[in-house]
Symmetry: C2
Subunit: 337 residues, 2 copies
DNA sequence: GCACCTTGCCGGAACGTTCCGGCACCTCGT
DNA sequence: ACGAGGTGCCGGAACGTTCCGGCAAGGTGC
C-alpha cells in the first residue's frame, strides 16, 4: 500500500513516473491553466504558446493522469463489456471482443470486462447477447448507465441503444435456398436459450413452414448442449423421420458436431441431406464437406456497438437508437447438391 | 463534456448518483476522516462508531469513487490483459479470459483489455502467450509495470512472474503413449510461431526422436494456418511418407481440421493411424473419432496469472517468481487402437 | 481622451479520497 | 496531584486535473 510515485514533487519527473501537467507548464514557462488549455484546445491560447506546450509535453513524455481527469470531469473514458460465458460460441464472442477492443482503442476508450454484477465506474456498457433471465445482465441493465446491446434484449428494461441483425430474413433466405435445392422437409435444431436470437429463429422457421405448407419439425437442444446430446438428437431424428432432407442447426458449432452422426446414419451431406448452420465459424469452413452458414460478422458487431455507444455518449444519437448489422449467407458444399 | 453529477453537493445524494464519503460521515455524525478509517479499518475507531459508519454507508448505498482513491493512493485496482489475436485458438483464449476475469473479480480488481501498445494506467499486466516479435508485447513488457506472463517469454526482458506448463513432459508422455500403441513413425505438425510453447514442442519432439532412434518427421505450418493448408500438408505427408503411423498436431484445432484429409487418404484414425493434438478443445471432443489431446486448462491458467500478479503486487512473492500449472493428457479413441 | 471589446494568460477552487499530525479525554502508576 | 501513555476522533493538506472568473495589454470607434 505504499505510494509508488517518487518523493520530491518538484523534480522534473523521475524515470518511469509520468510527468504531470505542472511539469509541462513549468517546461513551457506557462501556468498549468494555459498548459491544460493548450493541450485540450479549450481556452484562448496563441499558436506560439500552444506549440511550446505541445513540445514540452512531448519532451517530458506527458500523459494525463486519468484518475485526476476522471475525478474532475466524472468522465472515465472507459466502457464495460459483458459477454455470456459460453465456450461453445467462443469464436463468435472472441471476434466480438476484438471488435470492441479495436474500436474502443480507436476512440481512446478503455474496455473493462465485467463478469459479476458489480457495476463498474464507467461511462457506458456493452452487453453481448443479453439474456433476460441472467441476473448479472439485469443488474447491469438497470445501473442507470447508457447501455448498448448486441442483439435485442427480451427483458423489460430498454437499453439506450441496440445493434441487431435481421436473423429472420437471413433464415428465410437460407430456408428458401434449401428449398431451391430440393429440400421439402427441413428441420430446425434450435436451442432453448432465452436469447432473442434463438426465439427469432424459431418463429421465423414456424412462419416459413406455415407459408410453404411444410410440417414444423422443430427440435430443441439445451443451449451449449454437449455434442453427444446433439448427435443423439440427430440420430433419433434420422431414424424416426427418415424423410428429413435438410437440417438447419441454430447453435454455434452444432452442425459440425452432428456431421459424423449423419454420416453413420448412411446419409450423404450435400447429396441426399442438406446441412446448414445459423452461425458461421472455423468449424463450418473446415468441416468435410464445408457447411453452408450465416456469417454473423461478430467483429463488426463489436465495433458497431462501440460506435453507437460513443454516439450516445456524445449526444449525437438519441436514446433508444437501433441500428442493423447486415449478415450474409455463405453457401458451401453441404447444400450445393 | 457536461458534468454528470447533480448540482448541490450538500444534498444526501440524488438518485443514480453514488453517495460520497462526506455524505456517509454526515449520516453517521462523524468526520470524513473517521468515516474513511472505519470503512478502511485503518485508524483507531471504536466499535460503536465503526458500526454507525458501516450502517450509514449501506443505507446510502455508498461506493467509493475509484478515481479519487486512485488519485490519492496511485493504486488503480485495475490490471490489464493482453491476448494475441488468433481466432483459431479462440476457445483457449476465451477460457483464459474468463479465468482472469473471475479471479480478478474475486480479488476486487478490474480487468481492462489492451490491444494497442498504449500502456494503460494500471497496477499490473497479464500477457498471454507473449511472442517476442510482437511490438505490442514488447512495449507492454518494458512499461515498468509488474508483468505476469502465461507461458514463458522468449524475448530479452524478464517478466515479474511467469505461469507455465511443462509442455515438454506432456508431449513426451503423449509420444510414449503413441509408441505404446504401436506407433513407430510419429510426425509432429508444428506451427512456426515464435511462442515459446511451439519451440518447446519442437525441441521435445526432436529430443524424443533422437532418444528412440526415430527419424525426425517435423512439418511446419504457419501459425493460424487455414485448414486447407493443413490438409494439403497432411495429404502430401501421407502420400509421400505412407509409413507414417501417427500424427501429432500442435496447433489448436488443427487435428480436427485434418481428419477428413486422413480419411480420404484411405487411412482409419485410431486404427492404422493415430492422431493427437497438443491442445484440447471442443473440436477434439466432438470429432469422429474423438481426438486424444493435452488439456492445457486455460481457465486455471488465467486465474493463476491473476493470483500471482496479486501476490507480486502485495509483495508476497518475489520478483521473478515462476509457477507451474499442471496439464493433463486426455486419451480418446483416436489413439486407442 | 474615453468607453468598450478582444486577446492571451493566470489564480485558485473543486472533484472525493487518504492519511499525517494533533487535540482532548481517560486510565494508571507513583 | 501529576506525568506518561493509550484511545477516539478530527482538521486539513495533498493527489493532478479542469474550468470559472478575472486581469492586463492592445485595438477600435468616437
Amino acid at each position: 500500500m505504499r505510494r509508488v510515485r517518487a518523493g520530491k514533487p518538484s523534480t522534473p519527473a523521475g524515470p518511469g513516473v509520468s510527468a504531470t501537467l505542472a511539469d509541462v507548464a513549468r517546461g513551457a514557462g506557462v501556468s498549468k491553466t494555459t498548459a491544460s488549455d493548450a493541450l485540450r484546445g479549450h481556452g484562448r491560447v496563441s499558436d506560439a504558446t500552444r506549440q511550446a506546450v505541445l513540445d514540452a509535453a512531448r519532451r517530458l513524455g506527458y500523459s494525463p493522469n486519468r484518475s485526476a481527469r476522471s475525478l474532475r470531469t466524472s468522465v472515465t473514458d472507459t466502457i464495460a463489456l459483458h459477454i455470456p460465458e459460453f465456450l461453445t460460441s467462443a469464436e463468435y464472442y472472441m471476434a466480438f471482443v476484438f471488435g470492441v477492443a479495436e474500436q474502443a482503442a480507436r476512440a481512446g476508450l478503455n474496455v473493462t470486462l465485467v463478469s459479476s454484477g458489480r457495476v463498474p465506474q464507467v461511462d457506458g456498457l456493452i452487453l453481448c447477447d443479453p439474456m433476460p433471465d441472467n441476473p448479472v445482465v439485469d443488474q447491469l441493465m438497470n445501473a442507470g448507465l447508457p447501455v448498448v446491446t448486441a442483439e435485442t434484449y427480451g427483458g423489460d428494461s430498454r437499453p439506450s441503444g441496440v445493434i441487431w441483425s435481421d436473423h429472420g430474413t437471413s433464415l428465410t433466405e437460407l430456408l428458401d435456398h434449401l428449398r431451391a435445392r430440393g429440400a421439402r422437409r427441413p428441420v430446425l435444431i434450435a436451442s432453448d436459450s432465452t436469447a432473442d436470437w434463438t426465439l427469432t429463429l424459431q418463429q421465423t422457421y414456424a412462419h416459413w413452414c406455415a407459408e410453404h405448407g411444410i410440417p414444423r419439425l422443430l427440435r430443441k437442444a439445451p443451449f451449449g448442449a454437449a455434442p453427444e446430446v446433439l448427435r443423439g438428437l440427430v440420430g433419433e431424428l434420422l431414424a424416426g423421420t427418415p424423410e428429413t432432407d435438410a437440417i438447419v442447426c441454430a447453435a454455434d458449432g452444432a452442425a459440425a458436431a452432428v456431421l459424423p452422426e449423419i454420416r453413420s446414419a448412411g446419409r450423404v451431406v450435400g447429396e441426399d441431406l442438406l446441412l446448414a448452420s445459423c452461425v458461421d465459424s472455423l468449424a463450418m469452413r473446415t468441416a468435410e464437406p464445408p457447411i453452408t452458414a450465416i456469417d454473423l460478422r461478430p467483429r463488426h458487431m463489436g465495433s458497431e456497438c462501440v460506435r453507437l455507444l460513443c454516439a450516445l455518449l456524445a449526444g449525437e444519437a438519441p436514446h433508444g437508437t437501433t441500428r442493423t448489422l447486415a449478415i450474409d449467407m455463405v453457401v458451401r458444399a453441404s447444400t450445393r447438391a
